[in-house]
Assembly symmetry: D2
Homo-oligomer: 183 residues x 4
C-alpha cells in the first residue's frame, strides 16, 4: 500500500494552546485531526464529545487530538469570538485551530480543501511518520476508531524499540519480542 503524506494544515488562529502547532512538528506522534463546525449538529452531539473522549483516553499515549474549525457556511456567525465561546461552553480542552480562509474566493477553507473533506464532522488519522492513514466523514464506531489508533500506537512503540542500534550489533529481533515490548 502506497502511503500519502498528510498535507500541512493552514490555521489562522489557535485556541487551547500557547503556541502555534504544525503537523510537521508533531512527527513521532499519531495525530487525530478532527474537523468540525460549531453549529453542525452531528459535530456537537457526537463528534466533539468523541474527540474529547479520545483526548482523555489516549492522554498517556503518543497521540495528539487536534480540532480544526472548517467553516464552509454561515461564516458571519461562527467567527473567532463565537468559536471561543463555544469551546468555553462545551469545555473543549484539546487544541483547536481556525482553518484558513479559502484562496481566491473559495468558500471552502484551506485545510478542508487540501484534504478534500466532504463535510463535517470529518476525522483524519495521521501516523507518526506524517502519513494519512484514514479519513472518515461522519460519526465513527468507537471500537473501530480505537483499533485504528491502537495499530498506529503499536507501530510507534515498535519503531522506537526496533531502531537498529549499531552498538548492540543491529541484530534482527524476533517479532514476538517486539510484540511484547509494544505493549
Amino acid at each position: 500500500m502506497e502511503l500519502i503524506p498528510a498535507p500541512e494544515w493552514q490555521v489562522s488562529q489557535w485556541f487551547n494552546t500557547s503556541k502555534e502547532l504544525t503537523l510537521a512538528a508533531l512527527r513521532g506522534r499519531i495525530v487525530v485531526l478532527y474537523a468540525f463546525q460549531m453549529l453542525c449538529p452531528g459535530c456537537v452531539t457526537h463528534g466533539i464529545p468523541q474527540a474529547q473522549r479520545l483526548a482523555n483516553v489516549f492522554k498517556d499515549d503518543p497521540v495528539s487530538v487536534i480540532g480544526i474549525h472548517t467553516v464552509f457556511e454561515h461564516h458571519q456567525v461562527t467567527g473567532p469570538e463565537a468559536l471561543r465561546v463555544f469551546l468555553h461552553e462545551y469545555r473543549v480542552q484539546f487544541p483547536v485551530g481556525i482553518d484558513g480562509r479559502g484562496l481566491r474566493g473559495d468558500p471552502m477553507p484551506r485545510t478542508m480543501r487540501a484534504y478534500a473533506m466532504r463535510g463535517t464532522p470529518t476525522t483524519v488519522l495521521i501516523d507518526a511518520q506524517g502519513n494519512l492513514r484514514q479519513q472518515v466523514f461522519g460519526v465513527q464506531d468507537e471500537l473501530k476508531l480505537g483499533a485504528e489508533i491502537g495499530k498506529l500506537i503499536a507501530q510507534v512503540t515498535t519503531a522506537s524499540e526496533e531502531v537498529p542500534n549499531p552498538s548492540r550489533g543491529g541484530r534482527p529481533r524476533g517479532s514476538g519480542k517486539g510484540a511484547v515490548l509494544a505493549i
Copy 2:
C-alpha cells in the same frame, strides 16, 4: 514486562460452533474471551452487545471472540438448555462454551477459577502468542478496548511480515516499513 501465558479454558459444552475450540488451536489469532452469566444484568445490557459488536467489527481481522458462560450462582436455572434459549433469543452468533464445573465442590467454575476472575462480565485479551494481555471486570470503554485490540492486531501483522525468511537472508527490516505493512 513479563508476560504470562493465558490458561487453557475448560469447557463442558459448546454452542455456535461445530467443533470444540481450544485456546492452543487459536495460536496466531487474538482471542477476546468474554465471560458472562445469562442472568447478570450488566452482561446482558452492556457486555453481550459489546461482544457481538466486537465480533462484527473485527470479523475480517485475526480476532476470535469467544464467550464463556461462567456460572457461579443460580446454577439450577442457568443450565445448558436455558443458555441455548438465551443465545437464540439474543441472536448471539459467536462461539460460547459452558465453563466446566468447579473441582471438589468449588462453586466457581474451572476457567473462571483459573483466570481468577472477580465476577461477570469479564473481558480477557489474549495475544496471538497465547499470552494474557488484559483482563477487565465490568464494562469497558470502547475506544480503549478497540485500541488494545488494535495494538495486538498490529503485532500479528507485523510478525507475519517479519518472520525471518532464510531464503531472503533474514536481514533486519526497518520498523518504518513494518509499520506500513501492518496497516
Copy 3:
C-alpha cells in the same frame, strides 16, 4: 367512545407482594399492566427498566404497576424459580404475577389470551374504573406513555373532588376549579 372493561388477570403465583392481587381490588387506582418474558431481549433491555421507572415516578400517585410473566415459549427454562432469580438480579421491585397456564393445551397463557396480546413486551393501561384504555405491543415513547397516565390520574383526582355532595347542595362545579384541584 365505548369503553371495554379490562379482563381480570389469572395468576398462578405472585412475587414482590405479600398478598394476591386482583384487578377488581385495585378499582380506584390506575393500573399499568406490564406483560413480559424474562428471556425476551426487548423486555429486558427496554421494557423492564421502563416499568421500574414508571413505578418510581408514580409512586405517590394512585398508580399501580403490575408485571405479568406471560410465557408463551421456552416454558421449561422460564419457570417460577428462574423468574425468582431474574427478578432478584434485575432488582425488580413491583409486584409480578405468573400468568396462568393456557386452558386445554393453549400455548398462550390465560391473561395473555384474555387480552389478545400480540407478544412481549405489552403495556396495558387500565383506568380507575377498570376500563381498558390503551394496549401497546413493543416499546413506548415515554412522553406519550406519561401523558396517557397523566390523563387518567387527572380523572381520578377530578372524580374524587367532584362527587356530588348533597350537604353542599350538589351545585355544578366549573371545570376550571376542578382543573385546579386536579393538580
Copy 4:
C-alpha cells in the same frame, strides 16, 4: 392550591411563525414554554431535542410548544442572525421568540426575569387558563413531563365537555362520565 397567572412573555423577534404570538392569545391551549440559549450544551444536547419531541408527540393535542431564546451571557455571538442559523441547522420547527433585552441594563432578558428563571434550559408548563403549573430548571424525566402535560390535557377536554349548557338545563354531570369523555 392558589394558582398564579403566568406572566406574558416579551419577545423582540419571532422565528418559525408568520405572526406574533402572545400567551393571552393561546388561552384554551396548554403552553410549554421552553427557555434556552443556542450555545448552552444542556439545551442543545437534551433540551432542544426534547422540545422537538414534545411538539411532535402532542401535535394533535391542544398543546403549543414555544421556544424562547433567553440570552443572559455571550450576547455578541448569539444574536438574531446566529439564532436563525442555529434553528435552521438543528431543524427546529416550533415557534421561537427572542427574549426582550433587560430593562435598565439588566443582563437578564425580560421574560427570563419575569419568570425568575435560574438558568437554561428551563421548561415552563402553563395551563389552558394561563396559570403557571410547573417550572423546571434542567433536563426533565420524560415520563414525569409527559404526565404533567397529560393532566393538563385532561382538564382542557373535561372543561370543554362540562361548560354549563343552559338549553340542557346545566345539570351537574358525574365525574365518571366526564372522565370517560376526557379520553
